[in-house]
Symmetry: C2
Subunit: 258 residues, 2 copies
C-alpha cells in the first residue's frame, strides 16, 4: 500500500480536479465517490474502481469493513485526513475516497411492465441526486436523461443520490422527442405539466409507463410535452405556485409505482 | 430615505447577525427575508416589517413593484450591492432585504376536515424549507413542530420555503405526546414509520388528520409514534434504505390531501 502525505501529490490533484470539473470528468471518463458506505456499494455493484484513498484513521477503524475494497483490483493508497481534504468536496472527508470509471448502467427496455422517469434539462444537482435516490427507493426501473441535465457524476449529485447511481439503471438520450415517440410504440408516456392536464391521482399508469419531468424553472419543452401520450399534473390546493422539482418527481414516481 | 454605504453600519451588522445566529434571532424576535418577491409576500401577508434595505439598482429597476414595501410602516434604507452583500446570506443578493418580527401564524384547530403535518426534530434546514413549500402548495392546513426542529427563521429554511412561511399556518409544541393525545380527541393521527405499519396507499385520511414525521436519521421517537392512532409507511420496492425526509413528507402530505 503506497502512502500519500503531500497535498501536491499527483493523485490528490487528479481527484480534486475530477471533483471540480465536469469537463475533466467527461474527458477522463472517471468520477469520484466519497465515504465508506458508498464506496462499498460501488464495489458490490461491480463498478470499476481504479484508485482508493484511505486515511490511516479510517483503515484502523474500519479494517474489516474495508476488505472488499482492499481486495478489489483498484490501487490502494494510504493517506491522512489533512491530505485527503484537498481531494474532497466535503469539508470533513469520511476517510475513504474512490476513483471510478463512469458507469454503463444500460436500461432494459424489453420487459413488459416497467416504469421509467424521463428528466429533461434538470439543472440543480441536489434535485437530480434526490430524484435518483427516490427512484431507487421506490423501485423505478430506470432514469432517462437528456444531455442538458446537470452532470450525474458531480459530487453534489453523488452525495444526494446516496449510492443510487450504483443501483438505478440510467441512460442519456440525444433526442428527447425521438426517444419518447419510440417509447410510445410499447408503452404510455406522461408529460408532467402545470395546466391543461389530467390530475395524476386519476391516472392508472398501467403497462409500461414513463413520466417526463422538465426543467426547474421552465418545465418540459413544448416539443417534449407534445411527444408524450398524455398530459398529467399534480393538483395544487394551496397558493404556492409550484412544488420543488424533486418533490414533484417524488409524488409522480410514487403515483406511477404504488 | 436614509442611505447606508458602509459595511460597518449598525443595521448591516444587525442584519448579518440575524442571518447567522439562531440565538440572536430568538432574543431579538426578528428574522430576515431576502428577495423582492418574498419581501412583497411578507407585506401582503400582514407580517410586521421593521426595516427594508434596497439597493439603488433594485430601486430603479423595480420602483413600482416596490410600492407596497415603500408605503409600509417599515423604515426604508437605500444601499448599494457591495454593502448589502455584507448583510446577506446569499453570494449575489437580490437587492431587497427585510427585517421582520417573528411570525404568529396561529393554526386554527376548530374546523372539521383539516389536514396537518407534525414534524419532530427535523434537523436539515433545506428539508424544513422544502416541507413548508410543499405543505403550502398542496394546501396542508398547518405545520406543527417540536421545539427541537431546526430554526424555521434560518436563511436556508426561508430560501427553501419560498415565501411559504407567510402563507402556511405553523406552530410549535413543547410536548409532542400531549399535543397528539389532545389531537386524537377530534381527529386521527398517523405516525410515519419504516416498519410494522400499514401502507399509506391503503389509508383514507378521512376527517381531521395529522401525519407525524420524525428526524432524518432516527425517525419518530417511540413515545411520539406510540401516541399516534395508527402507524403508516411508504412501501419501498427498491433497494435503497430510505427516502429523503422531504420527499417522504411530500408523498405523505400528497396522500393525505389528494
Amino acid at each position: 500500500m503506497k502512502e500519500i502525505i503531500s497535498k501536491d501529490n499527483k493523485l490528490i490533484k487528479y481527484v480534486s480536479k475530477l471533483q471540480s470539473s465536469a469537463k475533466f470528468r467527461r474527458e477522463e471518463q472517471r468520477f469520484v465517490s466519497e465515504g465508506l458506505r458508498v464506496c462499498l456499494e460501488a464495489v458490490s455493484s461491480g463498478a470499476e474502481i481504479t484508485d482508493v484513498l484511505i486515511t490511516d484513521e479510517a483503515l484502523s477503524k474500519h479494517e474489516s469493513a474495508l476488505k472488499p475494497l482492499l481486495e478489489s483490483n483498484a490501487k490502494i493508497y494510504l493517506t491522512n485526513k489533512n491530505t485527503l481534504s484537498h481531494a474532497c468536496d466535503t469539508k470533513t472527508p469520511q476517510g475513504v475516497v474512490c476513483v471510478l470509471k463512469t458507469l454503463d448502467n444500460n436500461i432494459d427496455f424489453d420487459t413488459i411492465n416497467n416504469k421509467y422517469v424521463f428528466l429533461e434539462n434538470i439543472q440543480d444537482p441536489s434535485n437530480l441526486g434526490t430524484i435518483l435516490r427516490t427512484a431507487d427507493a421506490l423501485g423505478v426501473s430506470g432514469v432517462i436523461m437528456t444531455r442538458d441535465c446537470c452532470d450525474i457524476y458531480s459530487p453534489k449529485v453523488c452525495r444526494g443520490a446516496m449510492g443510487a447511481l450504483f443501483r438505478v439503471p440510467f441512460t442519456f438520450v440525444d433526442n428527447a422527442q425521438k426517444f419518447i415517440s419510440d417509447f410510445n410504440n410499447h408503452g404510455t408516456s406522461y408529460a408532467a405539466v402545470v395546466r391543461d392536464a389530467d390530475a395524476v391521482s386519476k391516472v392508472s399508469f398501467q403497462g409500461s409507463a414513463l413520466v417526463a419531468i422538465g426543467n426547474e424553472g421552465n418545465g418540459l419543452t413544448d416539443a417534449t410535452a407534445s411527444a408524450c401520450t398524455q398530459r398529467i399534473t399534480i393538483p395544487m390546493n394551496g397558493v404556492a405556485e409550484s412544488l420543488n422539482a424533486a418533490i414533484a418527481a417524488g409524488i409522480l414516481m410514487w403515483e406511477m409505482i404504488k
